[in-house]
Symmetry: C2
Subunit: 338 residues, 2 copies
Amino acid sequence: METITIPMVDDFHLHLRQGDMAKQVAPMVAEGGVDRCVVMPNTTPMITTTEQAMAYRSELQSVAPETELLMTLYLHSDLTVDEIEKAAKNAVFGVKCYPRGVTTNSASGVEDLSAYAHIFEAMQKIGLPLLIHGEVPSNSSLDICIMNAEEKFLPELERLHSKFPGLRIVLEHATTRAAIECVKGLGENVAATITLHHLELTIDDWVVNPHNYCKPVAKYPHDRDAIRAIVSSGHPRFFFGSDSAPHPQDTKEKIPSRAGVFTTPILLPALADCFDRLGCLDKLKDFTSTFGAQFHRLPPTDKTLTLAREEWIVPKIYGQVVPLFAGKKLNWKIVEKS
Amino acid sequence: METITIPMVDDFHLHLRQGDMAKQVAPMVAEGGVDRCVVMPNTTPMITTTEQAMAYRSELQSVAPETELLMTLYLHSDLTVDEIEKAAKNAVFGVKCYPRGVTTNSASGVEDLSAYAHIFEAMQKIGLPLLIHGEVPSNSSLDICIMNAEEKFLPELERLHSKFPGLRIVLEHATTRAAIECVKGLGENVAATITLHHLELTIDDWVVNPHNYCKPVAKYPHDRDAIRAIVSSGHPRFFFGSDSAPHPQDTKEKIPSRAGVFTTPILLPALADCFDRLGCLDKLKDFTSTFGAQFHRLPPTDKTLTLAREEWIVPKIYGQVVPLFAGKKLNWKIVEKS
């Protein structure tokens, strides 16, 4: 049986929700092959203080004891430099920035990044990374819609990096050729996370299936090709963040559908399947387990995960959430963790 | 009360369906302010012979006695030069070409236009226009998806025109800046129809509402701007074809949604509202009642339609079909036909 063994896997962008949904999905992180994850703060209420982050971690840890949870704060006008310092002292991982109104629970997001210069200054000094949902809100008069909202954000990313060159910035879930080129061209302190679903989908896939619909939306084949190419090339500033975002089936299938693709329980098998098809299975390890940890200066690990080439069918539903590739065959399976 | 009076209105692209749906929507053509319309042949079975076209016209005429129905044939490998000649003699209006698989009932559509040279030759000689759904099928390896399927078709349109410069060709439901520029740049025998919904919507509108979803999909704000600009400029080769395409509510709201926006019963009020907002109400008349008839050499008319500035609310549903702008306020109303 053909197998591959890789180090402990990091998911640098994950939504674990709250309450019953958290109880359901947090234990699936390990099932999908991930041992350490960065947990998003767009809960209700959002996570804006170290205390909230610690309480949220406790809630999640109780249902996912084997998973290492790296917590984040939601960039918001209430956030102070003192809080940033406190967060860093208490092992909060980073700060997440949502532009206002572009995705789930982003109504309190940021309208103008320049208002946060003092926060970015403090983060740069302390070494806390800024994780950015890189889209600008739709605006017809500025020719901005969901298809170019990421590309139109890139000048903002460039400005931010040039003002705070020492601040580590991650452009989350890059979806466009333009974003890949932009991040590639910026310095060693700017990286991007890549999701499983943006490696797999284009607009034609989500138009006919709301379970493939997320923000930023999957775009043109040439965009997907660019994402596949950068990952296949083994570029160290492009690493894995699933943006797995569970919503109950009924809220995905109603009008309008909630944005979010759920991949947590199938991640490593599906990633192995994808990299295998792309002919770059040898690049999987660095993508999932090395590059991100290096960028974020996280300690290496002795733990490993083994995948074997073995067919299985993705369940049509996990609890109340429909996963990516529901009912489809995958060719790789997790066979051992140690 | 502010009113505008325009000549009899032509809808150069309309789906009237069959059976119960036809009984429901055909009478609404007059309700929407249209007196003469070009009826699409993508029925089940499709309309490929003059006899079928005549029978279909009879079926529709019996439920819409006041409407002038111009019938079309579906371009298909069974279609012969003899049939084209017969069609022309029997007042069939034109031939519609669907690329295979791009929209409702297009599974029998055309894969390769060059196979129809003898048909186009005959149509050119006789003066029968070719009406084209100008999209190529999605194909990831060629970077073709629903967002650029029209733009990728344009070289085909240019080739066709250069081979048959005397053939009148209409690019139906133009949705992109690229298509507007292309048609503008071609000779006097190439025109485009413009729908109400592509004057109004962008991708952001149909992503959250399947009743706004049609093929070709509404695209970027700059595409809508280009459509608005050409219409506002009063260009004589851009005229009205609604592509109103009713589907029962449940088939629009299921996964995947059927492609088609239903506008028949609200057309002239909504068009007046739109042109009013765009500041080009003086251009409405030529767009709906003059340019298309001139291009197609149809006789002028003495009939008129009067609209008044008067608020009303679009019904949430007509029979089993949800219209564009369901539940929304429009500022113009049809007050007289004579």
